[in-house]
């Protein structure tokens, strides 16, 4: 199957620091690609390059065969790449439902006249949006929380709301930046469940995650970064036994001692 997104040779440096160095990856529908690596390995920077927040110094990003390198963030989202953030970035004072409805922004375009006159067309659109947003909330397990301000939700629920908001943009690819950070084992189980369901729906998922057990359990493919460089890539079983990966995580001396 042809991958949805193909990335080749992406590099990004800040001053002298090479945050990402010629990384390649590809994401396919219904597959989960995980990106792992120690802190500061350049995982989030890579996401920022993919979503247009940073402009990569070199390399190219193709989405469904079309080059999107250097496209503005909102355009990238329109083209079908949605993301969540490592540190939750919800619209805190808006309700959970409204947060999800913000995600509808680019596919519910309607002329100003309809909005101002609150025409039947606008009413129908509003109704449909609300239903779709409620359905998404239900899908991530946030039934009944629609009218609460996003910032009043519990941490785990906020993480789920971010996923719902990203899904509302109707993406082809979902980039999840540490969705499981700070979750207890029970919450993690729910998260694995949710990601599994999204995968089954045919979404291409790219996941940054620190919980190894999560990564090993659900990934189809794993990419390991260290100091911005791609040091390994493959299926979970191979990665687990890769000496360079062990070295990157545990340091040189301990791997030498093994």
């Amino acid at each position: 199957m042809k991958p949805v997104m193909e990335v080749s040779g992406i590099s990004k440096s800040f001053g002298g620091l090479k945050a990402v160095q010629s990384v390649d990856l590809s994401a396919s529908a219904g597959k989960i690609l995980s990106i792992i690596g120690p802190n500061g390995a350049g995982k989030t920077t890579l996401f920022n390059c993919l979503t247009g927040i940073y402009r990569p110094d070199t390399g190219s990003i193709f989405l469904e065969g079309r080059e999107i390198t250097g496209t503005q963030p909102h355009e990238v989202c329109r083209l079908g790449i949605a993301r969540t953030f490592q540190n939750i970035r919800l619209f805190g004072e808006m309700t959970a439902l409204e947060n999800v409805m913000v995600g509808h922004f680019h596919h519910d375009e309607i002329s100003l006249w309809h909005i101002l006159s609150h025409s039947p067309a606008h009413r129908i659109l509003c109704g449909r949006n609300k239903e779709a947003a409620s359905a998404l909330l239900a899908r991530v397990g946030l039934e009944g929380a629609g009218d609460l301000p996003a910032q009043s939700l519990a941490y785990g629920l906020q993480k789920r709301l971010e996923i719902a908001r990203a899904l509302a943009t109707q993406p082809k690819i979902l980039l999840l930046d540490e969705p499981g950070a700070g979750m207890n084992p029970q919450e993690l189980g729910g998260l694995i469940d949710l990601i599994g369901r999204l995968k089954k729906d045919g979404l291409a998922i790219v996941l940054i995650e620190h919980h190894m057990q999560v990564v090993m359990e659900i990934s189809d493919d794993i990419l390991v970064l260290d100091h911005g460089e791609q040091i390994a890539r493959g299926i979970p079983r191979d990665i687990r036994n890769n000496p360079r990966v062990i070295e990157a995580y545990l340091g040189k001396s301990s791997s030498a001692g093994q």
Partner: protein, 300 residues
């Protein structure tokens, strides 16, 4: 030539005030809107200082100017410190609008406080101290530089040199730069961030007060709203040079000063603010980060 000298000395003063804006912006990411008022307070404090000294000592001597300048700097720094403690510190970390709004409110409060407490009308700078400086001339390349202009240029250079030495060569200055790079990290490595921020306000205010002393001599009169337009122009200078960038503020100040005097000379002083506004818009269109500014990436 005379226009150039006038412009340069005016620009040097803008640069002094612009430094205060840029330093605070660099460390807190906010426009300290009340900074122009600190400058105005420096002007008034200098006159108060001279008046008090002349009254208590009984006789006048040119050295009193130094005493009054010190008094002005101390008083304005105290105002700057109090502003930070009262109106800004609590708002650190809230939405970007909050400290800015607070600063604007504070600016209005300070202006109106001086208006109500001192006077609505203009007050004079004691001519006794400024006249000898204005009358003494140095012919240079067909132009005449007054002693006051020399004093302005000289003290501006000295103050800026002190500032550069401070931020590049002392422990506190390095702490300040660290805090403006990353406040949280600076705090974690043991830099007393609160005190460094307060110090930034104090230094910025001292520079503004120094500028105030010089301007009050230059113009001879002052009013409670002196800081508003002056502050606006100094801020424009900071933006022009690249906000947050210290050499940029100096460059921007000089450009604004020159531009203002050249416009007054060739087009008419009624048009200078319109020209300055046009210049600001042009810079924002062509070089959004200012002349010396760098692109700073948003942390995600």
């Amino acid at each position: 030539m005379e226009v150039l000298v006038n412009g340069l000395s005016r620009g040097a003063i803008y640069a002094l005030v612009a430094l205060g804006y840029t330093m605070v912006y660099g460390i807190l990411g906010m426009i300290n809107f009340a900074h122009g008022e600190i400058f105005m307070i420096g002007m008034f404090a200098c006159v108060f200082g001279l008046a008090m000294l002349a009254t208590w000592v009984g006789a006048a001597s040119p050295w009193m100017l130094v005493g009054a300048a010190v008094f002005a700097i101390l008083l304005a720094s105290a105002f700057g410190y109090a502003n930070e403690r009262i109106a800004y510190r609590k708002l650190r970390g809230s939405h970007i609008l909050a400290p800015l709004t607070s600063a604007i409110g504070l600016s209005i409060v300070l202006q109106n406080f001086v208006m109500l407490a001192v006077t609505k009308d203009k007050i004079d700078f004691p001519r006794y101290f400024s006249e000898p400086l204005v009358q003494w001339n140095l012919p240079l390349l067909g132009a005449e530089i007054t002693g006051l202009q020399l004093l302005i240029l000289g003290s501006a250079v000295v103050l800026m040199a002190l500032l550069f030495w401070f931020i590049n060569g002392t422990r506190l200055g390095i702490a300040m730069r660290a805090a403006s790079q990353d406040r949280l990290m600076a705090g974690l490595v043991g830099i007393p961030v609160d005190r460094v921020i307060a110090l930034t306000f104090v230094i910025g205010s001292s520079l503004a007060a120094g500028a105030g002393v010089l301007v009050s001599m230059y113009q001879g009169v002052m009013r409670f709203d002196a800081g508003y337009l002056f502050g606006l122009k100094a801020f424009t200078a900071a933006v022009l040079g690249g906000i947050g960038n210290i050499p940029g503020a100096v460059l921007g100040g000089l450009i604004i000063g020159l531009c203002e005097d050249l416009t007054s000379y060739y087009i008419g002083s009624d048009w200078r603010h319109i020209v300055l506004f046009g210049l600001l818009m042009l810079v924002l269109i062509a070089r959004p980060r200012g002349l010396l500014g760098e692109r700073v990436a948003d942390k995600v």
